[in-house]
């Protein structure tokens, strides 16, 4: 790295005061020179130059550093806990490493937690049920989200920004409060039942609250923007003249949709589905607040292991396995994105 031409390097440190600074005011270089007057910036800048890193190197390293610090390190801690044993202590698990004679480190790996995951069908059923709930809600979110995104791209140009804002706006309110609001709508004497009863559509209140249906509604509502935004992005790029050409050649609109529009938006569809499926799989808040006690999802199971059982090692093992299960769609997503870039 040190042998490469360093044309992208930060200029050598010069102690210039602002009056003698050259170059157009407000340029990046100008800002850099001004900032050099401040010691912390100068130290960092000097340290970077001395270490022989190029600006590009730092730029490339930053996301990796971020992942290392905030993803890999916590994961390793969880992995470590998953191999320890439950104990009545603070924190409530045994140490993995122990010094023997002050010279050797003894490592005790306890595989019992993983063994239990395989022996007890509860965990597998929870995993499978989560996949089922996440899968169905992803499909339903697509059904709701696609017409929405399509409608947005067909809207007059000057409306689009406002429509986009309307999709994003709910994010300004806490997720928890929005899910709580659904309790008020779905409960036995909630808004929905009152409305339907008064309209005479039903004569007995619908039991939606505390069922899987409520969980589906909650997930579809909460993750809809994650589906709409990538769909909108891919649909917006579409060239309208393609549809005109299809119509000129006698293709009916529905056929044109399946032959032209949908294939063009396929990457948006896939991206949206992953963005909904992955977080929905480990969802805890929605099944806890809206679901009934019979709603078995891995997020809730993990919570129970951690809080009710105080069994940090076992819940860590559940989390590690959940991550392994998630790696498959995440890697597929990555592959798909790469393909999208080269396409």
């Amino acid at each position: 790295m040190t042998q490469k031409p360093r044309d992208t390097d930060i200029p050598a440190v010069e102690y210039l005061d602002s009056r003698s600074a050259q170059g157009p005011a407000g340029s990046l270089e100008e800002l850099h020179k001004r900032l050099l007057l401040a010691p912390p910036y100068r130290w960092v800048s000097q340290a970077i130059i001395r270490s022989g890193l190029s600006a590009r190197g730092i730029l490339i390293a930053t996301p990796y550093l971020w992942l290392l610090l905030f993803f890999l390190a916590p994961f390793l801690i969880v992995l470590k806990i998953s191999f320890s044993e439950y104990a009545i202590a603070q924190p409530p698990y045994t140490a993995l490493f122990a010094w023997v004679d002050d010279v050797f480190i003894q490592i005790r790996l306890n595989l019992e937690n993983y063994q239990l995951l395989f022996e007890d069908d509860l965990y597998w059923r929870a995993y499978l049920n989560s996949v089922k709930i996440a899968g169905i809600s992803t499909f339903l979110t697509l059904l709701v989200g696609y017409p929405l995104a399509y409608g947005m791209t067909r809207a007059p140009r000057h409306w689009r920004l406002a429509l986009l804002m309307l999709v994003i706006l709910p994010f300004w309110t806490s997720f928890l409060i929005r899910v709580y609001a659904w309790i008020g709508i779905l409960k036995k004497e909630g808004l929905l039942n009152l409305l339907l009863l008064n309209l005479g559509v039903i004569d007995q209140p619908l039991v939606i609250m505390n069922t899987d249906t409520a969980v589906y509604i909650g997930i579809i509502y909460s993750y809809l923007p994650f589906m709409v935004l990538p769909l909108y992005a891919s649909l917006e790029k579409m060239d309208d003249s393609l549809l005109e050409a299809a119509a000129d050649l006698g293709c009916r609109p529905i056929k044109a949709f399946w032959q032209i529009t949908f294939p063009i938006s396929i990457y948006g569809v896939i991206a949206g589905c992953f963005l909904v499926f992955i977080p929905a799989l480990g969802e805890f808040v929605i099944p806890d607040l809206l679901g009934g006690s019979g709603t078995l999802m891995i997020g809730k199971t993990l919570w129970a292991e951690f809080f009710s059982n105080r069994d940090w090692p076992l819940s860590s093992a559940v989390a590690v396995v959940l991550l392994l299960i998630l790696v498959v769609p995440i890697v597929a997503f990555q592959k798909m994105q790469e393909k999208d870039k080269t396409a």
Binding site: A89, Q90, P92, L122, K188, G294, F307, S308, R310, D311
Partner: protein, 364 residues
């Protein structure tokens, strides 16, 4: 929802009055159960002592214990229940109280202190805040409408599937607390409610599974509002919480009458204990706070507000007649004898118990 908004607002206001994260003298960080204090007590304490109270709430022992075991909670006074306290003392979470700083210890009631000593030998780490029973809260009219001779004073109402099934359409809630519901089931079966024998505990599983289809939800705080609003018929809940539901319904004048019964077969008697974590930063203020709460007039005010009995004998003279005179709050001598206490499960048994409880809750 009204209560939720109220308590959320109160929490925000209380949190807002103190400098966050401040560990200097003049602050005490308290972590107590939700809906468990007359908030004017906190204001009075601040006025009298000049110590700001940062008051935060939880609704399950599990949440509290997880925080305590992780350490560094920042709380100076916490209020776990007896069985949890016992395990937490074993884990080394609490510091012994400096009894020379607790001038009001003489107010405590030995009927309660003797029992809490089984969780905390010599009551070295804790002082009783409130105690109560785990029994049945029900909507009087709705229950009568569905079953005129419903056994409301018996666990039959809950554990007999033919009886409970009559109320499934109206809504039945149960506490999400395995350490309370399994003993209740065992007690109904005539077994030792405090049994740690997996084979005996398995009998509770069969019983609970037989009534599972008729239970809508397992939750430890939602039933207060659900009962008060008339959303549900029956809830297995904590005495004072059900009585709060009763009063909220009466206040709202919504035509809902809620009642609480301590079943004749006996019920769990539990204790919530004030204790100071080892890593508390304001130990001095924590003692001042605990001592203040132990004052007869303060404790009486608290019980008059939340409808829970306390372990403070001196406060009894100052209790409202509808508190001290209500057998649902202060059971008679005879009823007191039917109440049982439990001890914490050892780790191996605990895992089986939680597994059993997950199975019961998910119904599969």
């Amino acid at each position: 929802m009204k209560f939720l908004a109220k308590s959320a607002l109160a929490a925000v206001l209380l949190a807002g009055t103190a400098a966050p994260g401040s560990s200097a003298d003049g602050v005490v960080n308290v972590y107590n159960w939700s809906d468990y204090i007359d908030e004017t007590i906190l204001q009075d304490f601040e006025k009298e002592t000049g110590i700001k109270v940062v008051y935060d709430v939880f609704d399950s022992n599990d949440i509290l214990e997880t925080k305590l075991l992780a350490g560094g909670t920042g709380y100076d006074v916490v209020v776990p229940s007896g069985t949890f306290l016992s395990r937490q003392i074993q884990a080394g979470v609490f510091q012994p109280l400096d009894k020379s700083k607790l001038s009001n210890l003489g107010n405590m009631w030995n009927v309660v202190s003797e029992r809490t000593a089984t969780y905390d030998p010599d009551n070295a780490h804790s002082v009783n805040y409130m105690w109560g029973t785990t029994g049945i809260g029900y909507n009087v009219d709705q229950v009568e409408e569905r079953m005129a001779d419903a056994p409301v004073d018996s666990w039959k109402l809950i554990f007999d599937p033919t009886v409970l099934s009559k109320f499934a359409d109206c809504g039945v809630f149960m506490l999400d607390a395995s350490d309370e519901m399994i003993p209740a089931a065992l007690n109904y079966l005539g077994e030792d409610p405090d049994s740690h024998d997996p084979e005996v505990i398995a009998k509770a599983e069969d019983l609970l599974m037989s009534i599972r289809p008729y239970i809508q939800k397992f939750h430890s705080s939602e039933y207060i509002n659900a009962l008060a609003n008339g959303d549900i018929c029956i809830a297995v809940g904590w005495s004072g919480d059900v009585l709060q539901a009763r009063d909220r319904a009466a206040e709202a004048d919504n035509g809902v009458t809620v009642n609480y019964s301590t079943p004749i077969e006996g019920a769990l008697m539990w204790f919530d204990q004030m204790a100071i974590p080892k890593d508390a930063k304001n130990v001095e203020n924590a003692h001042i706070f605990i001592d203040y709460i132990m004052r007869a007039d303060v404790m009486a005010k608290a019980s008059n507000y939340v409808y829970y009995a306390n372990g403070n004998e001196a406060s009894q003279a100052l209790l409202e007649p509808d508190v001290i005179g209500d057998p649902a709050i202060y059971p008679s001598e005879a009823a007191l004898k039917t109440l049982y206490t439990t001890t914490p499960y050892p780790p191996r048994v605990q895992r089986k118990v939680t597994r059993l409880w997950t199975k019961v809750k998910s119904g599969q």
